[in-house]
Symmetry: C2
Subunit: 460 residues, 2 copies
């Protein structure tokens, strides 16, 4: 693994230098010891040199690098491939990787890929493509080791040796009956530690954890992570084994889903490309809609402020605490909603915990609110009144501000924790109910509380 | 895997029922087919019944369940264990799990654990405990399969069969020379697919990816995920192999680090416990400090507003757009900072990309700002002026608000994208520079711009 900043820069310079001097053998020797993921990362900055460099790689490494490239680079490369080159790469790929690539390509490239696959492969690709985008079926592979319950360990090992090279993993083996129902799983470790004449049916694990093709891919990835499995069998509605999901794909899913959550929480539409590879227009398109909605919904706070214009005029100092109140309200709400959204996505909190969550947030918010109000009272008296010498900041004004603060924090935390749970219950992504959305609601609430308290305590 | 909501409730009811009728054999049969992680999850709600239930489990499953329990439950169980019970559980645990447990326990429990371990184990635990908390050394295990380069495949398989049961994984094997330097790695797949008389030195992979004991554990976990490895060798300063990190631990690290990032981004101090298991006081302690800092720093926006009190008095309608401006500024900044923080933590963006990021955000922010300003102008004219019949909303006022909007969005996005990168450069966690912090800065900036524009355009 090279340390990014310096080693990578140096390698890039070396490659460009050798390239310009057409030292292709030296280039090949330079690339060979690197990991596929690192070569793909280098290719990011090598643009029009990529096709030549790619052809220097040995077949197997080339395929591994191909899988790691961004889809626009894959497309570019494929457009330059002859049919036989394309076939060579496709032959080296695992089925699930091929499907991932096919999903990202425009129709004409897909047609070319399918025309160069062998018929079995084409059938499998088409089958996997049929599953909905976020389903487990769409990330599974059908290339797994299948055994029969009546085999001996010796038979099983022979079968693995014969069919293993084409399988995505041999670390987990799956046992099926005549109707292809899943009846057991077996790790390669169990196989190796068993006696040669042990019967698979006797040593296999029959307490099965399996997922269904239509399960959400995130649920499946979380299950793999929770049970520390290396692969999870995927069954259809009749409990027939149709594929497996491996841990490396699960990690990718978890990473993508987390990025999606984080983007939603920051009021962006999720994108599936790395930051620097997303164009200006795409980024703009992902960011503007929510900004627009939130901006327009601030109309309500504007109306509230206009409505209380008289009160503000007669006690102008009140205005100067509005940003502090709405900021603190927003931050308090963000804390609660973020904590809940994360807990929901890790399955730590469920809808049935709703009351426990509310009760907890109520107590936390009272503690936070009182503590902040006390600090704020001291600050208003010492800094605003004495240090900045502002006689308008009377103890009564401070009282109004501090009481509003307590109420705002309580409202913010209760709204913040309940909206994500409700959103999930009615089938929305809870991440949408994050800070920006909640801040907007809490802004309006805190202003209403502020002016209500001001008018009753200060008599304006 | 049981579906949480209903199956779990039902199981709990069954267990409590059998428990009250002392049907221990039936209880055992009920628990046996479940996965360890699921049993641990059930134990969450079974309180004082846990010690009895735990003793019903067979030794191996009991140890697996023990690892999955929360640390307060582990402590409770251990306090009830006799020395021989404790020893039995410890014998079944993998080294890295034992270390995790020891790290969470109070001193007296740690002493008891260490006194019940065999001397080798005790030595290994103490060694791993010496590594800093977030280092790779602290999450590695020393129980790996080591081979010699001059072994044949047959020898190697024999060795794995003999020593395998005590190893964390046999899927990856590591080849060392006499001085324990790492010279090669080998997957169990390569071993199985090779001929019996092949020599390990000839078939092992010598392009090595390894990490160092002092590397950050997140870097190591990201490397495992990037290269799709099942285990990564950990070497000391002299390149001697001292341990391995397995993919299941890497997933846990990635999950924890992401949660930490998300908590920091929402202005909370990170906690390592699930939401519902954190006490009120702990949650309060994690949330109040940042709320307090951000509240007090809002003093600046207060001062700005007080400073422009005269202007506000002469054109009161300006006040009603303050929440919209600061909200939009905050949201725009949040979008940029969140995108950058995530990209930094996935290693997609580095410090050297700083100018590219700024250039991108500048263009996006102009596009967003202009678009929002146009929408806002139309809205102010149609809704505020005509529909709400507010004659104070003149085209000139709308112009001031819209120009401020454009400037605010640009400032917010530039501040939002640059602060996280700077924070990382000077060694802070970029996640701290997220929405709440940036909103506070942008609030002050947008008010200054607002009043500056208002006074020059409206002449107040």
């Amino acid at each position: 693994m090279f340390e990014f900043e310096h080693e990578r820069e140096e390698l890039l310079k070396n490659i460009e230098d050798l390239f310009s001097r057409k030292q292709y053998a030296a280039l090949r020797d330079l690339l060979l010891p690197l990991e596929a993921a690192d070569i793909a990362f280098l290719f990011d900055d090598l643009d029009e040199r990529v096709p030549v460099l790619f052809r220097l790689l040995p077949k197997e490494l080339a395929a591994e690098v191909f899988v790691e490239l961004e889809s626009d680079q894959q497309e570019l490369l494929m457009q330059g491939f002859s049919n036989s080159e394309l076939r060579e790469v496709l032959e080296e790929l695992y089925l699930d990787d091929t499907v991932d690539i096919v999903e990202e390509m425009p129709a004409n490239v897909v047609r070319r890929i399918l025309s160069q696959c062998d018929p079995d492969m084409r059938k499998s690709i088409n089958e996997i493509l049929k599953y909905p985008e976020d389903s487990t079926g769409s990330i599974m592979t059908t290339e797994f080791v299948d055994l029969k319950a009546n085999m001996t360990v010796e038979d099983a090992l022979k079968r693995i040796r014969r069919t293993g090279p084409d399988k995505e993993t041999i670390n987990m083996c799956f046992v099926m009956d005549q109707q292809r129902h899943l009846i057991g799983v077996l790790s390669i470790r169990t196989l190796l530690l068993a006696e040669d004449d042990d019967i698979i049916g006797d040593i296999m694990e029959t307490n099965l954890v399996s997922v269904s093709t239509l399960d959400d891919r995130e649920t499946t990835a979380l299950a793999l992570s929770k049970y520390d499995f290396l692969a999870l069998p995927v069954v259809d509605k009749e409990n027939r084994l149709v594929g497996i999901v491996t841990v490396d794909d699960a990690i990718d899913v978890l990473e993508e889903e987390t990025t999606e959550d984080i983007e939603l929480m920051a009021a962006m539409l999720p994108s599936d490309k790395p930051y620097l590879r997303t164009g200006i227009f795409e980024t703009w398109k992902a960011r503007t809609p929510w900004l627009l909605v939130l901006m327009l919904s601030a109309t309500f706070t504007g109306i509230i402020l206009t409505h209380f214009e008289g009160a503000l005029m007669s006690c102008a100092i009140l205005t100067s605490f509005v940003p502090m109140l709405s900021g603190t309200g927003g931050n308090s709400g963000t804390q609660a909603s973020t904590a809940i959204i994360r807990a929901l996505s890790l399955n730590e909190v469920r809808f049935s915990d709703c009351l426990r969550v509310l009760w907890k947030e109520l107590r936390v918010s009272i503690a936070c609110g009182v503590c902040l109000a006390a600090a704020n009272f001291v600050k208003m008296m010492l800094v605003d009144r004495m240090l900045l010498n502002n006689p308008d900041v009377t103890p009564m004004v401070a009282l109004v501000v501090c009481m509003t603060l307590v109420c705002t924090v309580i409202c913010a935390k209760l709204v913040g924790c309940s909206l994500p749970i409700l959103a999930q219950k009615i089938g929305f992504d809870p991440a949408v109910m994050a800070s920006p959305f909640i801040s907007t609601i809490v802004d309006a609430l805190s202003l209403l509380i502020y002016f209500r308290l001001a008018s009753s305590i200060l008599g304006i």
